[in-house]
Amino acid sequence: MSTETVEKAIEKKPAEALLSKRRKRLISDPLVDDNPITIQVLGICSALAVTTQMKPTLVMAISVIFVMVMSNLVISLMRNTIPSRVRIIVQLAVVASLVTLVNEVLKAFAFDMYKELSVFVGLIITNCIVMGRLEAFALGNKPYDSVLDGFGSALGYSWIILTVAFFRELWGSGSVFGLPIFDYVSSIFGPDFKLATNGLMVSPVGAFVILGLIIWVQRTKTGYVEH
């Protein structure tokens, strides 16, 4: 069978530095210039749904980082053996298995988190960012590069949802990571003073507003225009 043909073309070159300029770009590009959420506008569903509070958002971010790094690694390792006609299903199977692993671990060790996130952890399977990176990068690149690429994209996703969650929790519930910031601030100004929270921020609409603002600020700074 003609499966092991592509790989052997590369001759011995001087080994690339562990974090060469090109590899650094693999991580840094998705953070701002090619951010999966704000530029590619992928993964919006979970960005809206899980970001009412910081804690579940952090768990979600860690889960996505784990799933993306591992799936990129596995797919990249298998890239020369995966039959191209069923590659999407193979990717799906790998991602789904990893997500199920995350779900099982959460259920055993963080049941409250599992209850809060359950549906959305499952939905990582269909998160376009994961499949997108597998299809666009991991299928054609070496494992180490693929891991860096997955890590970069997942970080790009994570910092955006954490930022959204920070503002939504602060303005919607008056707290950060469950710490009642608004109560502290209010108490400085005397007993009658009370900072009001905004109910809009607790509903998904709030996430749209914050996300829109982030995209606006970012595109003003980078000068990015959609073609």
């Binding site: 069978m1 003609s2 499966t3 043909t5 592509v6 749904a49 053996t81 995966i82 039959p83 191209s84 006609r85 069923v86 299903i89 193979v90 199977a93 790998v94 298995s97 199920t100 692993l101 099982e104 671990v105 259920k107 055993a108 060790f109 049941f111 409250d112 599992y114 209850k115 549906v119 607790v202 509903s203 998904p204």
Partner: protein, 255 residues
């Protein structure tokens, strides 16, 4: 590159088996831990009807287990209020009764566990009776626990949970702000008929003087109706038990 069908099929089979083994292995290893977490979660819900959410949140897993063991006694009854200790030869305990599964059976065959909240270590000094309730919300099942004070009339507290209500709308039944609205309400009217309590349509009205009405949830009327049905159904199912406790307490007062 094109591969033969045989290669693709072999590849798929190997992949399926490897992933399947991985997942079932994990499930086997983590299964006991997950069962434990589920049982703990149920205890938290039961205790949530009588003590505040903050208090539960500040307790560690072992503390919750210890508190539960020293404060909760259980009994299982049938629709007529008779105690059930075994069914088909197997002993029945309140913790092992699956309310969701029982919900699918005809009412006469269901088992109804009661969790009795008492003073520490003293099962005689009952403080409240906690009844599990179960019903249907808008999208999926809803359930909860209702604590009745020893007068068997006043609601001491409730906890609700849901499988898939809309976040921000029906899912608000899990918020303590909504659950607090039930505290102090009464389930029997002045004629002694069981009327339970019902959430009203609309939100923001004051129902302080009305013992059977609770402020509703804006935008979640169907979930609220589900809660109402669940409460009146299950309090009705427990009525025989409630009446028996009621008469014994009145007797005690008369004596």
């Amino acid at each position: 590159m094109q591969q033969s069908n045989a290669y693709i099929i072999t590849f798929s089979v190997i992949l399926t088996v490897v992933l399947g083994l991985l997942l079932s292995g994990t499930s086997q290893v983590l299964g006991p831990l997950q069962k434990e977490a589920e049982a703990l979660d149920k205890k938290k819900q039961i205790l949530g009807a009588v003590i505040s959410a903050e208090e539960i949140g500040s307790m560690k897993a072992e503390e919750i287990n210890a508190f539960y063991n020293s404060h909760i006694a259980t009994v299982v009854v049938d629709i007529e209020g008779n105690e059930v200790t075994e069914q088909g030869g197997t002993p029945v305990t309140a913790e092992s009764v699956d309310i969701g599964k029982n919900y699918k059976k005809p009412v006469e065959e269901r088992l109804f566990p009661v969790f009795i909240f008492h003073e520490e270590g003293n099962a005689e000094a009952v403080q409240s009776y906690i009844f599990p309730v179960y019903g249907a919300g808008l999208w999926d099942a809803i359930w909860g626990f209702v604590a009745l004070d020893t007068d068997m009339n006043t609601i001491g507290g409730v906890t609700f949970a849901h499988a898939g209500e809309t976040p921000g709308l029906g899912a608000r039944i899990t918020e303590s702000g909504v659950q607090q609205r039930f505290v102090g309400k009464e389930i029997f009217n002045e004629q002694g008929e069981l009327v339970a309590v019902s959430m009203q349509k609309g939100e923001g009205k004051d129902y302080t003087g009305e013992p059977h009405k609770v402020d509703g949830m804006s935008g979640a009327t169907i979930t609220a109706n589900g809660v109402n049905d669940m409460l009146s159904n299950y309090l009705g199912h427990y009525k025989a038990f409630i009446d028996s406790k009621k008469s014994s307490t009145t007797l005690a007062v008369v004596n």
